[in-house]
């Protein structure tokens, strides 16, 4: 039956010099498209599927529904109960995982060539016909609530939540997508069925595949796997402009080391200045030992084990965030140093030497990302969600190399806003005012 409906294979790209990453664009008869890198030397395939919308599609009052729903996909489907489903997956040695973020529900699968059809059939059941039986709902709900309870006394979780609440209030991004103990407790089976049909839709799906599969077989597979999903009926969330006042919010918590999250507004992935911004961040706080924040806060002063910043271009907003953790009596100094470096980069930009080193690092490291079927499938699906073309893997290093000192300076002046750089600190910091009430949970 293959090819009767006509599989369209569009671009075939090869990356020069360093790798034979040939991306095939596959369009299935049922209208689902995917990117594929066929690599037959190891007899299995990795597939990455992302459904746009994710936990941000939670309906009002139903926070945590998409998260709980996703956790239940592997807990029984069609004619199989939870353990029956797990037994089948084990018997095929397939590996499925299901995950949620603010913007996506994502499914990672890998399975052997020798039992591919059975594995796809099983994965299909979990996506199209999840059971959501009451026993499984109760069991997984209890696991989620147990996790939420632990999060209430975990400084890393407390800081992330308070930061969102302050910056993104009123938007789904402003609360944890796992929900709260109250909201999760009140979710019904109907809520989960609704969350399922809202989030897993075939017109908001992206697919990347790598490994031992042909374009024709992948085309069939996608229709089999995803063809019976519904179309989207719920709108994606509105854009939000986050609010940052440049202040410090202290959440008192009895622990020896204060954990801080900081940030302000970021830059969109499709902004023409995204590349300079990306390079700027590598130099300022990208996490390597050469980054300024790491040099100043850790290497020179020993104030932390790790400090880093990162651009977060989300679908409905853009943030520029960072993290640091220091003993309660040293966190104030760490924050001071970070503010100084933010200011210095905003006004002075970076040096030619820093820019040159960042470029060689970024361009050299990029091909090393393509180091296995799983990572390649991941890259392919990620590129599609970012609306990039397959040619991107060829032009990407050129785009990095094209960034000039002037570009960095322009972007630094626009992106870095020392006066708006806001901190949330969880702990018992010395020398920082508590502008906030204790976490009430």
């Amino acid at each position: 039956m293959k090819l009767i409906w006509g599989t369209l294979i569009a671009a075939v790209m090869a990356v020069p010099a360093w790798a034979e990453i040939k991306i095939q664009q596959v369009q299935s008869p049922g209208g689902i498209s995917a990117w594929l890198v066929q690599e037959p030397s190891i007899p299995f395939v990795s597939i990455e599927i992302m459904f746009e919308g994710g936990a941000s599609l939670d309906l009002p009052g139903k926070r945590g529904a998409t998260y709980l729903m996703t956790g239940l996909l592997e807990e029984g489907a069609a004619d199989l109960d939870a353990r029956g489903f797990a037994r089948e997956v084990e018997a095929l040695a397939a590996q499925f995982s299901y995950d949620v973020s603010d913007d996506y529900v994502s499914v990672s699968a890998k399975f052997l060539t020798e039992n591919r059809d059975q594995a796809v059939d099983l994965l299909r059941k979990s996506l199209i016909e999840p059971a959501f039986d009451e026993a499984s709902i109760a069991r997984v709900r209890a696991q989620v609530i147990s996790g939420l309870r632990s999060d209430l006394t975990d400084p890393d979780e407390i800081v992330a939540r308070r930061f969102k609440e302050i910056a993104l209030a009123g938007h789904p991004y402003g609360t944890a997508y796992e929900g709260t103990q109250d909201s999760v407790s009140s979710l019904t089976r109907d809520d989960l069925v609704t969350a399922h049909s809202n989030a897993l839709v075939r017109d908001r799906v992206y697919v990347g595949a790598a490994g031992d599969i042909s374009a024709e077989d992948l085309s069939d597979l996608m229709d089999e796997l995803l063809g019976d999903l519904p179309l989207a009926t719920t709108p994606l969330p509105d854009r939000i402009d986050p609010v940052f006042d440049g202040g410090v919010t202290v959440v008192p918590f009895d622990t020896p080391q204060s954990v801080a999250q900081f940030g302000h507004i970021g830059i969109a992935r499709d902004d023409p200045d995204f590349f300079p911004a990306y390079v700027l961040n590598v130099i300022l706080g990208g996490g390597g030992f050469e980054a300024r924040l790491m040099t100043e806060v850790r290497e020179k002063r020993g104030l932390t084990y790790g400090v880093y910043s990162y651009l977060v271009p989300k679908n409905s907003t853009a943030l520029y965030l960072g993290r640091v953790a220091s003993a309660n009596d040293r966190i104030a100094e760490a924050i001071e140093v970070i503010r100084t470096e933010w200011e210095r980069a905003a006004t002075e930009g970076v040096t030619a030497d820093e820019l040159a080193r960042a470029k060689t690092y970024l361009t050299g490291a990029y091909p090393l990302r393509f180091d296995g079927n799983g990572p390649i499938a991941n890259i392919l699906v990620g590129m599609q969600t970012q609306d990039l073309s397959p040619e991107y893997i060829v032009t990407r290093n050129d785009s990095v190399n094209a960034v000039t000192l002037d570009d960095i300076k322009r972007v630094a002046a626009r992106l870095l806003q020392p006066e708006n750089l806001s901190f949330v600190v969880v702990g018992q910091p010395v020398g920082l005012d508590s502008e906030d009430q204790p976490q009430d949970g």
Binding site: A82, R83, E90, R139, Q257, Y305, Y361, G364, L368, G372
Partner: protein
């Protein structure tokens, strides 16, 4: 953030993703330099990348008493500089060549690695060989880096009651062996580590005849050997290096129990760890049976503990069994239970014990064992997709007293484990006299032992 990281509990606590080495031995080449440095080359020509690793047979369990954490501290200091490389320049050069580098310390070894384009291998070897013997340190660097390490301990341990609890339990499990001392070190001992402590540990342990080279990726083994001879070959062997003989455990005659309270604990749980044998060269069968026991008991949704404690009764929200056999000396076999709402730790522990006792009577479900073995065979296929992980598997095994032959025999030994072997292993391992049972709970409340 993995930077200069410890391999802490994660290794021990994940229910062993067990499996299986690369058996296609034509992809693995070994050689030994005249100075005693062993080398393993793993070929993967799909992408023009390489990982270059040097593992020293020197971990936290090889530290002298009183300077806990020095192995890990030295690992940090190894990035400072040599006669020819300025402080911090090592990582800068790696990055400028498009690579990433890092290091890790465990109980049995310290490892350094770089991931770069395959044509940069020579430079990596040159730099790694240089810092094997030419490290230079200043008092200032040591002082500042000690602050970093204290912050690392804050981040990994002091801020995490589960990690503090883990330290306490290990200290009780090992009555005489250095495995009872945390890799990162006790805080009061870290605070007094100095330059001389680091130089002493370096001089005692860093030498080619105490090191293992692992190179994996798009390389020709003959080229690797030639480069290794050029850069590591000239370094003389240290004649004082001898096979490690650490203080061993005495007979353990008394069960140990502990309760730890910490107001930061919102979800109480129980962990019991039994002292357990490790994989030994040429004798991995018992360890293989324990790997299978951990899988059968607690390895996933269809495991015995999950069935009995989560599905047939609603006693726990999470349960698992864990065992890590790659270790130079006695390791641990653990059971975990996180009680459901309204279930006390006492009730959870009783249910856990009852489930294990029932399992020993009922025996192993043959279909479950078949599934596990098939997954392990499949894992050998999946493993070929990640050459870094293969490199770590060989390096970790060789630094823990095993041989390449042991690594390559391991998948078949796992496949040969029978239902009777698993039950016999269970009967032997579950001896409460050789165990520590810990309850971790919130601020003082109910519960006595």
């Amino acid at each position: 953030m993995l930077h200069r990281a410890l391999m802490l509990v994660a290794v021990m606590v994940c229910a062993a993703p067990v499996l299986a080495a690369e058996t296609a031995s034509e992809q693995v080449t070994t050689f030994t330099l005249d100075n005693g440095m062993e080398a393993v080359v793993i070929e993967d020509h799909r992408a023009p990348a390489v990982v270059h690793m040097v593992w020293y047979r020197a971990g936290s369990a090889d530290e002298p008493a009183g300077v806990s954490g020095i192995a890990h501290f030295l690992e940090h200091l190894m990035f400072k500089g040599t006669d020819t490389i300025a402080p911090g320049e090592f990582s800068q050069i790696v990055a400028a060549n498009g690579g990433t580098d890092n290091a890790f310390t465990s109980f049995d070894y310290t490892g350094y690695f770089q991931r770069v384009a395959a044509d940069r291998l020579e430079l990596m070897m040159q730099m790694e060989a240089d810092r094997m013997v030419n490290l230079t340190l200043t008092q200032d660097e040591v002082r500042t880096e000690r602050e970093v390490i204290l912050e690392e301990r804050n981040q990994r341990v002091e801020n995490d009651p589960g990690a503090l609890f883990n330290e306490q339990r290990r200290a009780a499990l090992y009555m005489n062996h250095r495995y009872g001392v945390p890799i990162i070190g006790w805080r009061h001992e870290i605070e007094s580590l100095d330059l001389q402590d680091a130089l002493d540990f370096y001089a005692d342990n860093y030498a080619p005849n105490n090191a293992i080279l692992v190179v994996a990726g798009d390389v020709d083994p003959a080229d690797v050997k030639r480069l290794a001879q050029t850069y590591y070959g000239p370094i003389p062997a240290d004649p004082t290096i001898v096979p490690r003989q650490r203080p061993q455990e005495p007979p353990q005659l008394s069960e140990r129990r502990m309760v730890m309270n910490d107001p930061r604990v919102a979800q109480p749980y129980i962990i019991r760890t039994y002292l357990a044998p490790e994989r030994d060269p040429g004798a991995q069968e018992k360890a293989a049976a324990l790997v299978m026991l951990a899988e059968v008991l607690g390895g996933g949704q269809t495991s015995v503990l999950n069935r009995k404690l989560q599905f047939e009764t609603q006693t726990v929200v999470y349960t698992s069994a864990f065992y890590s056999g790659t270790s130079l000396d006695d390791t641990g076999f653990g059971l975990v239970a996180v009680p459901a709402d309204g279930v006390s730790l006492q009730e959870a522990e009783e249910a856990l014990d009852k489930a294990v006792a029932e399992f020993i009577t009922e025996g192993v479900d043959a279909a479950q064992l078949d599934r596990i073995k098939f997954q392990m065979r499949a894992q050998q296929i999946y493993a070929r997709d990640n050459v870094d992980r293969l490199a770590r598997r060989y390096g970790g095994a060789l630094a823990s007293g095993l041989t390449v032959a042991d690594v390559q025999a391991w998948p078949d030994i796992l496949q040969a484990v029978t239902e009777a072997d698993i039950i016999a292993a269970a009967k032997e391992i579950f001896d409460r006299k050789k165990s520590v049972t810990g309850w971790l709970m919130g601020a003082e409340q109910e519960g006595t032992l």
